[in-house]
Structures are given as C-alpha cells and as structure tokens.
C-alpha cells in the first residue's frame, strides 16, 4: 500500500474512533444533565418529518458550516507556519463591519459590487493581521498575546462603530442597531435552485447561501497555494524547520508577514456569507465566536482544506441540532461538550496515528537498509 494512502486511512480510522469516544463522553454529560442519551442522539439525526423541514435542516447546517470552513482555512494558514493567529475573531469582525459599511455607500452592477465588498473585507482583515505580524518581526512580540489583545480592540471597536459612525437608519420597531442596508446589487444570490432541481421545496429565510461557491473556490485556491506553489513550500519549510528554511534562503520575516496577512485576509471573509446572503448589514446581533471556533475546526481538519471542510460540516451538523435538542428536553450545551470532546480526542488520535504511520515508514526504510548485508565477522 502506498505510504500516502496508508496515512489517509489511518487518519480516517483515528477520527472515527475519536468521534465514537466523544459520543460516549457526551452521553455521560447528557445523563448527568438528567436527560436520555438516546433521545439526544435521535434529535441529532432527526432532520424533521416533512421535506421542507429536512431542507431547512440541511440549509441551516451548511449555512453554519460555510463561515466555519473559511475560519478554519484562515487559522490553518498560520498554523502551517507555527503561527498562532488567535486574532481571526477580531479580524473577521472588523472586516465585516467595514465591508458592510463600504458596500452600502454606492451601487454598482452586482458582480462588481460584490467583488468590491469581498476585496474590502479581505483588505481590512489582512491589514488588521499586519499589526501583530509587524510587531513580531520588528520587536519579537509573541503573536498569540498580540492577537488576543487586538481581538478585544476589534470587538469593541466594531461595537462602537455600529452604534456610532457606521450606524444606519433604524427601521420602526427594530431593536438592534446596524450599518445601512446593502443595495440589492450586493445581495449574493442563493442556491435554492439546487433543492428545486431535485424537486424539493425551497428552504425558508435567506435560503442556502450562495457564498458557499466562493468558499469552495477559496478552499481549492488555498490548497493549490499551500501544496503546489513555491510560496506554499516556503510556508511548509518554515513551519517544519525554521532553521533549515533560513539556511535555504527563505526569509523568515517576510514569511511571517505574508502568512499572517494571508490568514487575516481569509479571516476577513468569514462574515460575508451572512452579510451578503442573509442580513444585508452588520448589526449588533451579528454572529460572534466564529474565529475561535475556526481554531477548533482547523485542528480537527489537520490544517488541510479537505479536512477542514469535513470538520466544518461536522460542526455545522452538531450546531444545527440545537433546536431539536431543546424539543427533546436535552440542554443544547451538550453540543458544545461534544465539540470540545471531539476536538481533543481527534488531536490525540492524530498524534497516535501519525506515529504509527511514521513507524511503518521507518520499518520500510529499514528493510531497504537490510538488503545491505553486513560483512561477515572474522574476529
């Protein structure tokens, strides 16, 4: 069996075992909360009776997964280089409000309008990530500390902006404040047609966010960049062995800045599925916490785009069940416990499986060496 396939199979097996164990741990938590695990797991897989309910469930799951996937990609770009960009949270919030505000200032044909908003979001996210990057390369400030601090600034700055300079008109009876509503040319078309193609009813609300397409393209682009280009090679080398990278002519400072800014630029897009596809503004009820969840998603997905996609779908699947769990009289916080348990166990499983794969490689190499028969001893 080729080494690559063997490694992939081991990874999948490890993840499966980890999920089973996580289910066991969550069951304990559910019992402790006084509910029945069977009811809980039934609710987890219960997408509803009617076709419409099933479609709504799937839509909720995917709509949740899309921003998580982008967040996972953003974190992974840093992780690849051993850069811990904890600041994805702040970067996406500040990028989202800026993009929502700028996008509402003019009206252009739809493709251009949307493109401008995407570019603004990426630029703001990237620039915000440039701050810790510059601090790191010029003054050696640890990026973890710097990005955590910048998160507080970004979160509160966004809260201030939405109530102050960037605030839009508040509709009658609306309780929250938000940026001005985007012109219709900035509304990303939904993908409800996909359901209709299979003769299924369209989901309610904003429908299946069209930004899914952008996310998939982004995932492919990140994969190509990291796995196939010279830049990706330099990122990998810097992450695996910074000393060897330096000796090989990779400029460490340049790489830190490039990886951090790229990570921030991707992070800038996290809020766009929701803004362009559903809310059409940045409001005070904008979804928080996606950046932090992105760290878990990246860990779960082993910093690889395909893995991150699976991890994001898993998280989306679990998050979707919040409602059904409440109907089943199970506290929805069980979901958070389950997510935490899965991440921890998968990290452990990854460590074990990669060691197993390694040992196998060594054995194979040793067999190759064994062909070199030792000289007969004549003592």
């Amino acid at each position: 069996m080729p080494a690559g396939l063997y490694r992939a199979l081991l990874t999948v097996a490890g993840a499966a075992i980890a999920i089973v164990l996580a289910v066991a741990i969550s069951s304990v938590a559910i019992i402790a909360a006084g509910a029945s695990p069977e009811a809980a797991f039934a609710a987890l897989f219960n997408f509803g009776e009617t076709e419409r309910a099933v479609v709504n469930g799937i839509t909720t799951m995917i709509n949740r997964s899309v921003p998580l996937f982008i967040a996972g990609l953003a974190v992974a770009v840093g992780f690849r280089m051993n850069l811990f960009n904890i600041g994805v949270e702040g970067q996406y919030r500040i990028a989202a409000i800026c993009a929502a505000f700028v996008g509402a200032q003019f009206s252009l044909p739809a493709p251009i309008q949307i493109l401008v908003i995407i570019v603004v979001a990426a630029a703001v996210g990237g620039l915000y990530a440039l701050i810790p990057a510059v601090m790191k390369v010029t003054r050696g400030v640890n990026e973890v500390i710097a990005t955590i601090m910048l998160n507080y600034i970004a979160i509160n700055l966004a809260a201030f902006l939405v109530r102050g300079p960037f605030t839009g008109e508040r509709a009658k009876g609306q309780l929250t404040t938000s940026t001005p509503t985007l012109p219709e040319s900035a509304w990303f078309p939904n993908l409800n047609g996909l359901f209709e193609m299979f003769g299924l009813p369209a989901p309610r609300g904003g429908g299946l966010w069209g930004f899914l397409v952008v996310a998939v393209l982004l995932g492919v682009a990140v994969w190509v960049l990291l796995e196939r280009t010279k830049f990706g090679f330099e990122v990998k080398a810097s992450g695996l062995n910074p000393m060897a990278a330096l000796a090989s002519g990779v400029k460490p400072k340049k790489m830190v800045i490039a990886a951090m800014v790229l990570s921030g630029a991707i992070a800038g897009l996290i809020g766009l599925p929701e803004i362009l596809g559903d809310k059409h503004n940045f409001g005070s009820n904008f979804t928080p916490g996606l950046g932090f969840l992105g760290i878990a998603v990246a860990l779960l997905g082993r910093n690889r785009p395909a893995g991150i996609a699976v991890a994001a779908l898993l998280f989306g699947f679990l998050d979707r069940a919040q409602g059904p769990l409440q109907f089943a009289n199970v506290p929805p916080s069980v979901i958070a416990i389950m997510q935490g348990a899965i991440v921890l166990l998968v990290v452990v499983a990854n460590e074990i499986t990669s060691r197993m794969a390694l040992r196998r490689e060594e054995r194979r190499a040793a067999r190759q060496l064994g062909r070199n028969t030792p000289v007969e001893v004549a003592a």
């Binding site: 080729p2 080494a3 690559g4 196939r228 280009t229 010279k230 830049f231 990706g232 090679f233 330099e234 990998k236 080398a237 695996l240 062995n241 000393m243 060897a244 990278a245 330096l246 000796a247 090989s248 002519g249 990779v250 400029k251 390694l358 040992r359 490689e361 060594e362 054995r363 194979r364 190499a365 040793a366 067999r367 190759q368 060496l369 062909r371 070199n372 030792p374 000289v375 001893v377 004549a378 003592a379």
Partner: protein
C-alpha cells in the same frame, strides 16, 4: 570491596546477550562485555556501530529487548537513568550538559543539592567537592563560572558531577572528541587517578591510539555486535582498526593537486562582535574599526578573518568547536550580519541575501543536518527542493515542479547510493548516513561553484564516509572550491589542500597539510603554540 572477597572480584559490569531493535538504525545484537572492577575498559567501534545505543541501555535511557545486565554480580533492570545512578553508574556525555552561567559548585550539585533549612548548604557542598577533587586529582576552582572554563576543565566538572552523585562506574562517551592532544593527556592522567581510587571507567572511543594508551581491556563493536575482546598489550592499532571496520580502511587522502589560479571565493576582514551587530561608522575602514573593538577589550566571534579559495581547492579550517566556525559559515551564507566583505567569483556578495547567494552557486552541507539541513517530517523529494525552491528543476514559475523534483531526487538516490524505499519516504525514516548522502547530493546539484562542507561525515557509517569523501574529491577535481570545517583531524589533513587554524575567531596559522602532525595542529587549536602565520605563506601554483 568486602574483606572476604575472593581473589578474582566479581565483574563491575557484565552484559550478556544484549539485543536492541530499532527501525532503521543500527541496533545492538547479542552484545557480550565483561568489565573488571578498577580498570579502564575501552569500547571501540566506528560511528554508527551501536556504541551509543549500548551506553544508553547501560545508563537506563533505553531498555534492551533481550539480554541481562549485572552490576557487581547483581542482575539489574534500569527503567530510568535514576535507577542507573542509584546503582552507582555515572555518565559523562560527549556534549557537556552544564549551565554556563552557574559556578562550578552550583553545576556539580545541581539536582542533588545538600540543603540546610531549605537553602543550599554551600559549605557542605564545597567540602564534598574539594574532597572529591583532591582525592581524584580533578583540580577545578569551585567558584569559577563555567562559561569562563576551557573545554578540559568543563570535562572535569562533568566528571565531578558524576562522582558527586556517588558513581563508582563511570561511562565516558567519546570524551576526547572535543579535546586537543594536550588536554587528552590531562584527561588520561585523571582517569588513571580514578582507576587508582578503585573506580571503574568505561571509555568509548574510535580513536585507536588513545584507546591503546589508556585501556586495560578493549572490546570492539562492529555493526551492533561485539566482535572481539582484546588485550591492548597484544594488539596493534592496525589490527584494532581492521577489527573495527571489518574491511579495508578508507583514507581521505586527496591525490594530486587540482588547485587553479582562479579565485572562487574570497573573504576579507570578516569581523563579528559577540554582542550584536552594529553598523560601521561612516568612513571608518574595517581594520581600524576592528582594532578599536579589540582595544576596548570586546569579545569578537570573528576577528579579521581573510582567505581565498581557488577553483579546485579544498581549504580546511581546524579548530576546537566554538571558536568561530559556525559564525564564519553564517557570515558566508548571509545568515548573520558581519563586517568585512565576501566575494564570489569576483562579485561582491556582501550585501546579498542567503537566497541570492545560494542561487549564485553556494552549496552548504550544514554541521547539524537535523537542525539546518532537513525537513524531517517531509518527503525526500521535498527535501531535494529545500534550498533549490527558486531554481530549476524544482521550480517552474510560481509552481513547484513536483515531477521534475521527484525525478531529480531519484537521480540523487541512484548517484549517491541513498538507501530508501522511494522518493516519497519521509526524511526521518532514513539512517544518518543516508540522510547525509541525500544532503551531499542536493548541495552538489545545480552546479555549485563553491561548497561549504561542515563536518560532512559526522555521525555516518564508514561506507557513507568513504562515499562522501569520494564525492568531495570528484567535485574538487571538477573545479569546485570547498571550505571544509571538521573536527576530524584526519579528515582535515587528508582532504585539504590548504589548512587554516581558527582560534577565538582568528585564523592563527596557515599550515601545509602534507607535513603537519595532529599534535602540532592541536597546539595551534588550543593556543598553546601562538604564532601568526608560523609557516611561510605557502606558494600556490
């Protein structure tokens, strides 16, 4: 030790049938050694023969898969080094494990501090150390900072450390590797004192003359197993060498000179301060600036280093490790700022980046392949790309050309005899010698004009060593200029066309490798013989 012991005391250490299997590394197979108490017992073998593994087993760092260990007649099973220390075994590692900014006394007691009311009982520690050093003739001032000590003194501190913990059996792992001949003599004097004091010393080495002069018994290890136990009085160095290698000895002799008139690399006035780079004040010549630094009594890592290397020439740099060799390499590679100038094939490259220097044809075999030379968790072909990521065949446009890189890796595997299942194998699965051959192959790719070879055969087996020497010689004949930095004096003398000695950041002597002895080289390396360019500057063709 007890009064009614039989005439033949029980062996201090008895190893029987020790076997240790590792994937990919030379392990131990059916090792049998008996060490009599109160003797110096040498264990000799080539690099990679399995000596280190054996010592790790004896010191409790690894568990044998099979076999028994008996200490003073009692069978033991060590799980950790603490168990071994408790049984009276002490290990002096090849690389010193001392805290530089602590005094000798603090280093010796570290981890086993005598305490009085929760604080370090300095008086008691001092009394104990002074007692130990006077009984065993290990003279070191307990109050000096370790960073101020020379290599020989540091080694004595290591030995004291072990004795302080009550060791009666000392393992010395290649203790002379970092010493020059004069210091070796001192060490041997110390070892004789220890022996006289009833201690047992296990001495690991591959330097045969030394072994013959100090050991009471010798065990030879080859390819992981004990091949002979001999009496040093009845064996010659030649016979011992043949036992070790099992075949003809490789020699690093270079044959006829291939040195040309064309200068490939020229460095002049390289100077590096110990406390960080400061840019030269405008209009000050380097020489004047350096003289100023020296007058201020500032420590210089590199002190006005200048030399030329011609096409087809191997220039060797001898020196005790830590005298500026690493800094010299980093300066030439552009990894660390330095005063002075570096010229490659006539072009001033002083301000170039590492990448640009590499692209211009500088190859680099690093001193520590795991630290600077390899991505251990990446495949062999990715390691082939490392350092060549901007050049053909690894790159095409913004892309990494995977197919071409893999094909070229296959070429290296064949030409340099890298033993691996394939190009996708991870680098860490390979043995040290094969990793090194891959690096040599990589650095010889892309037609380099100048190669830095730092300890090119360190920690590789004899076969790989001979192969690497052959490759260096062939490249030299083809016109490559090589800067060879090595701790192996035979390698330096055998391969170099010109030999410089570096001491405290200065090139203190230029010698002709054809008529220099390791002893004289050692004299310059320690500063015992001081002399500016003692030899006539040499007449190049």
């Amino acid at each position: 030790m007890n009064a009614d012991a039989p005439a033949t005391a029980r062996p201090a250490v008895e190893l029987e049938g020790i076997t240790k299997r590792f994937p990919g590394v030379v392990a131990n197979h059916d090792i049998r050694i008996t060490v009599e108490p109160g003797t110096v017992h040498a264990i000799v073998g080539e690099n990679g023969a399995g000596k280190s593994t054996l010592m790790k087993i004896l010191y409790g760092m690894q568990k044998p898969d099979e076999g028994t260990i008996r200490i003073n007649g009692t069978e033991v099973s060590f799980r950790t080094p603490s168990d071994a220390i408790a049984a009276g075994i002490g290990m002096v590692h090849q690389h010193f494990m001392l805290a530089d900014n602590f005094t000798v006394l603090e280093n010796v007691v570290l981890g086993a501090e005598p305490k009085k009311a929760g604080a370090l009982d300095t008086a008691r520690a001092r009394a104990r150390i002074e007692e130990l050093s006077s009984t065993h003739g290990l003279q070191v001032d307990p109050d000096r900072l370790v960073e101020d000590l020379g290599v020989g003194d540091r080694q004595r501190v290591e030995i004291l450390k072990v004795l302080y913990r009550g060791a009666r059996i000392l393992i010395l792992d290649e203790p002379t590797a970092v010493l020059v001949p004069q210091e070796v003599d001192e060490l041997f004097e110390n070892l004789r004192e220890l022996k006289a004091g009833g201690l047992t010393v296990i001495f690991i080495s591959h330097k045969l003359d030394e072994v013959l002069s100090i050991a009471d018994a010798i065990t030879v290890i080859r390819r992981g197993t004990t091949v002979a136990s001999v009496d040093p009085r009845e064996v010659t160095a030649r016979q011992l060498a043949e036992l070790m290698v099992g075949s003809e000895l490789p020699t690093p002799e270079t044959r006829e000179s291939t040195v040309t008139d064309t200068v490939a690399l020229s460095v002049s006035g390289l100077t590096m301060e110990a406390d960080g780079f400061r840019s030269l004040p405008k209009g000050t010549p380097i020489a004047e600036y350096t003289a100023g630094l020296r007058a201020e009594g500032r420590r210089l890592l590199l002190d006005d280093v200048s030399f030329d290397i011609h096409r087809g020439e191997i220039l060797g740099i001898a020196g005790v490790e830590g005298n500026g060799q690493s800094e010299l390499i980093e300066a030439i590679m552009g990894m660390r700022p330095v005063h002075g100038s570096v010229e490659l094939a006539g072009a001033d490259i002083s301000s170039w980046s590492t990448l640009k220097r590499r692209e211009a044809g500088i190859g680099y075999i690093p001193e520590d392949r795991h630290r600077q030379g390899l991505l251990l968790e990446a495949s062999l072909w990715e390691n082939r790309v490392l350092g060549h990521q901007t050049r053909k065949p690894s790159r095409s446009g913004v892309w990494i050309d995977r197919r071409a890189a893999k094909a070229d890796t296959q070429r290296i595997i064949e030409e340099y005899d890298v033993r691996t299942p394939g190009v996708d194998t991870l680098a860490l699965a390979l043995s040290g010698g094969n990793q090194q051959k891959l690096i040599v192959g990589r650095e010889m790719s892309g037609e380099p004009v100048f190669l830095i070879a730092a300890h090119p055969t360190r920690g590789v087996d004899v076969g790989a060593q001979a192969a690497i020497w052959d490759h260096l010689r062939a490249a030299r004949a083809a016109g490559l200029a090589v800067l060879l930095i090595s701790a192996d004096l035979d390698e330096l003398i055998g391969l170099s066309d010109t030999l410089h000695v570096i001491y405290r950041g200065r090139l203190v002597a230029r010698l002709d490798p054809s008529d220099v002895t390791p002893e004289r080289l050692g004299g310059y390396m320690t500063g015992a013989i001081s002399g500016s360019t003692a030899e006539p500057a040499g007449e190049e063709a």
